[in-house]
């Protein structure tokens, strides 16, 4: 009654947009038709970049998982398995777009310029943020949000602001702005996601709702959140919805590219459900063997987004030097992340008080002073 088993509905072949089959062959689903030109326009450099993104960040993600197991991080939520959905959507976004992640969008953030070690800060307990979204080097990537669904409203508000300021729908895709917000199958049940869609539809925001249905919300299968595909919710708000194979980086890219461009052109918000799979644990504190079968896991390993893209590139004739180069870069990034993680410093005592308010606050000044004096008293005592 609560959860009809661990094996949720399969993506329906025809209505789910898929371009690359699991073995890496181009074999578009019927619904993929309109997206093919976008994929055909991609050159080798772009295709190889997609692969590189996925492979490098998977290596980083594994390194972070390892760092957690070695006690260097409090927690790590692995992105493994969701690389295609994240690379496709993040590469589809244009430079001027704003991205609102949840907390597993390591691939998205890194592609946009966020230093992966900045993500680690949050999970190591040295920061609640980690990077500055207003600094251009971070590619308009907003901070992770841990309260499920909350960020969907921030994204909608941001997109309202774009619309109010006339920063979209001018007809210039290179300057018109759009917003993409990430959330999960579990989060989709939160009231905030509903309200975000209500506001987005009402204000016709230039915005894409990007749902990564990775089949699980910790131990709870997606079937508990919905008995029908989650993409089906958006049309109820008057929003176009697309279901895409989230393990197909080409389809994920094309679908998001078009949705963002339509939204930026003033056609209103769009919703995408990317059907993918969380290959690892929910976080390093989690033990998936308690709630899902290894058969299920195996069936998704067979649909690994990276293997699929590799097969495609190999078939297209990518050189083994290319793959070797990616592997080397991945190893470097992972090693570098390890080194720099262990060097991360604890925040200063004063930072606890410094940024709570933007303007002076006598109560906090007093408490900061008290703590400074108190700690100094030990130093004296110890001296």
């Amino acid at each position: 009654m609560t959860s009809p088993g661990a094996s949720p509905q399969e993506p329906e072949i025809d209505r789910t947009v898929r371009i690359l089959s699991a073995d890496g062959a181009i074999s578009p689903s019927a619904s993929a038709e309109r997206y093919l030109p976008l994929v055909e326009a991609l050159g080798d450099a772009e295709l190889e970049q997609f692969y590189r993104d996925m492979a490098v960040i998977r290596a980083f993600d594994r390194q972070a998982t390892l760092l957690q197991r070695q006690g260097q991080l409090a927690l790590w939520p692995p992105s493994q398995g969701q690389e295609a959905a994240q690379v496709g959507s993040a590469r589809a976004a244009r430079a001027q777009d704003h991205l609102f992640p949840s907390y597993r969008e390591h691939v998205v953030a890194t592609i946009r310029g966020v230093d992966p070690v900045d993500i680690i800060k949050l999970m190591r307990g040295t920061s609640h943020g980690g990077w500055d979204p207003t600094d251009p080097k971070n590619g308009n990537t907003h901070l992770y949000t841990l309260v499920l669904g909350s960020q969907t409203l921030h994204a909608t508000g941001y997109a309202m602001g774009i619309a109010f300021d006339g920063r979209h729908a001018t007809g210039d895709a290179d300057s018109d702005e759009a917003v993409i917000v990430y959330y999960g199958d579990g989060a989709s049940s939160q009231g905030d996601v509903h309200e975000a869609m209500v506001f987005a539809a009402s204000y016709r925001t230039p915005q894409v709702f990007f749902l990564q249905n990775n089949h699980w919300a910790i131990s709870v299968p997606v079937a508990t959140q919905s008995r029908v595909p989650l993409a089906g919710r958006a049309p109820g708000y008057g929003m176009e919805a697309i279901r895409v194979d989230g393990n197909d980086v080409l389809a994920s890219y094309a679908v998001t590219r078009l949705a963002l461009d339509e939204a930026r052109a003033g056609h209103g918000p769009r919703a995408i459900e990317a059907v993918t799979y969380r290959m690892g644990a929910h976080t390093t504190s989690d033990d998936p063997t308690k709630y899902r079968t290894s058969d299920e896991e195996q069936s998704w390993i067979a649909r690994d987004p990276i293997a699929r893209m590799r097969a495609y590139l190999e078939a297209r004739g990518a050189s083994s030097a290319f793959f070797a180069d990616v592997e080397a870069e991945a190893a470097d990034v992972a090693a570098d992340a390890r080194t720099r993680t262990t060097q991360l410093e604890a925040p200063s005592r004063d930072s606890m008080f410094a940024n709570v308010y933007s303007e002076p606050h006598p109560l906090l000044d007093e408490q900061r002073q008290w703590l400074a004096d108190y700690e100094a008293s030990f130093e004296e005592g110890g001296a």
């Binding site: 909350s150 409203l153 508000g157 941001y158 209500v198 506001f199 009402s202 940024n355 933007s358 006598p362």
Partner: protein
């Protein structure tokens, strides 16, 4: 040269909002029924006609949505001023207020300010149905990252709403709705005290009365009645509930040695508790009597026919004054 005008508290708020909107086109008003209708208390009356539908938004009916999108708008440079229709309807937005609005500057390590004002008409005395007469300020005062203020006069209403909008921090702006209609003088040229300052509104020597919002009026009534009985009360208007400006309160407590703190809200774990505890601590050697508290009872705000017994009035304040004097 001062420019004095007499107007109701509601009109003063309206004038303050108009001024802030005229001063900066980044100021937006958001809420339910605030546009065409001008708000159920008419505080935003005429503003949509003057500034347009892009500046005064009749939003969809969802408080979490309103506050959550206000946050997003603030991130892109707007200064949203949200109206919650009644005190009891702020709770659907509570998550966005406490886990997001209050914390985002901190989460951004100062890289981002969140200048969002949330206006909440609050308090009793208007004979309304459930959820329409409550005083939820303690929930916000307890939440780090928020500023919480409450004006008690038209002049403060006019200036404090502008200061709240000008503040880079999120401000919960508690409007004592029973004060919307009485008139007072507003000095349009001379800025009031800073947003966080408390103020002695009546001088006295025997007992200090402390309160905020509509309660200030009650305290002033009590002071007049007490005077007739020979007791001189000093009255302090808190104005800001977070942070609390303790200077004037402690000065007064030290000089009178007797303090009564009054509020409409239930007393348990409230702003009144905080002030009583802090005064008792910091004015320890000066107190002749314990700090006494007068609050709403620890029950849900009752049906309107009982609000007269529920809400502290001047007599209940005087009862506490008498007890304080009896120590």
């Amino acid at each position: 040269m001062s420019d004095l005008q007499t107007m109701t508290f509601g009109k003063a708020l309206n004038a303050g909002l108009r001024k802030a909107m005229a001063d900066s086109d980044r100021v937006l008003l958001m809420g339910e029924d605030i546009g065409r209708l001008g708000g159920v208390f008419r505080v935003t009356e005429g503003l949509q006609a003057e500034f347009g539908e892009r500046r005064v938004l009749d939003t969809p009916l969802a408080e979490s949505g309103i506050v959550g999108t206000a946050i997003g708008l603030a991130m892109t440079g707007f200064r949203p001023v949200v109206e919650i229709q009644f005190d009891g309807f702020v709770f659907p937005a509570f998550d966005q207020i406490t886990t997001q609005l209050a914390k985002l500057t901190n989460r951004h390590e100062g890289a981002l300010s969140l200048p969002v004002v949330i206006r909440i008409p609050y308090g009793g005395h208007i004979g309304a149905v459930e959820h329409h007469q409550e005083s939820p300020e303690a929930y916000f005062a307890h939440t780090p990252g928020l500023r919480v203020v409450s004006p008690s006069t038209p002049n403060d209403a006019y200036w404090m709403i502008q200061d709240a909008i000008a503040s880079k921090d999120p401000v919960i702006f508690m409007e004592p709705k029973s004060r919307y209609w009485p008139k007072g003088e507003v000095d349009l040229s001379d800025r009031a005290l800073p947003l966080h300052a408390s103020r002695v509104v009546r001088r006295g020597t025997d007992v200090t009365l402390v309160g905020h919002g509509a309660m200030v009026t009650t305290l002033l009534q009590a002071a007049v009645l007490a005077e007739a009985e020979g007791t001189s009360c000093e009255v302090v208007d808190l104005r800001s509930l977070s942070p609390v400006d303790y200077g004037p309160i402690l000065d007064s407590a030290r000089s009178t040695g007797r303090v009564v703190v009054a509020q409409e809200a239930p007393g348990h774990a409230s702003v009144g508790s905080e002030i009583a505890a802090t005064v008792a601590e910091r004015a320890f050697y000066s107190l002749e009597a314990p700090v006494l508290r007068v609050s709403g009872f620890d029950v849900p705000f009752p049906p309107a026919k009982l609000e007269g017994v529920y809400l502290p009035d001047a007599d209940r304040v005087l009862e506490a004054v008498d007890r304080a004097l009896a120590y």
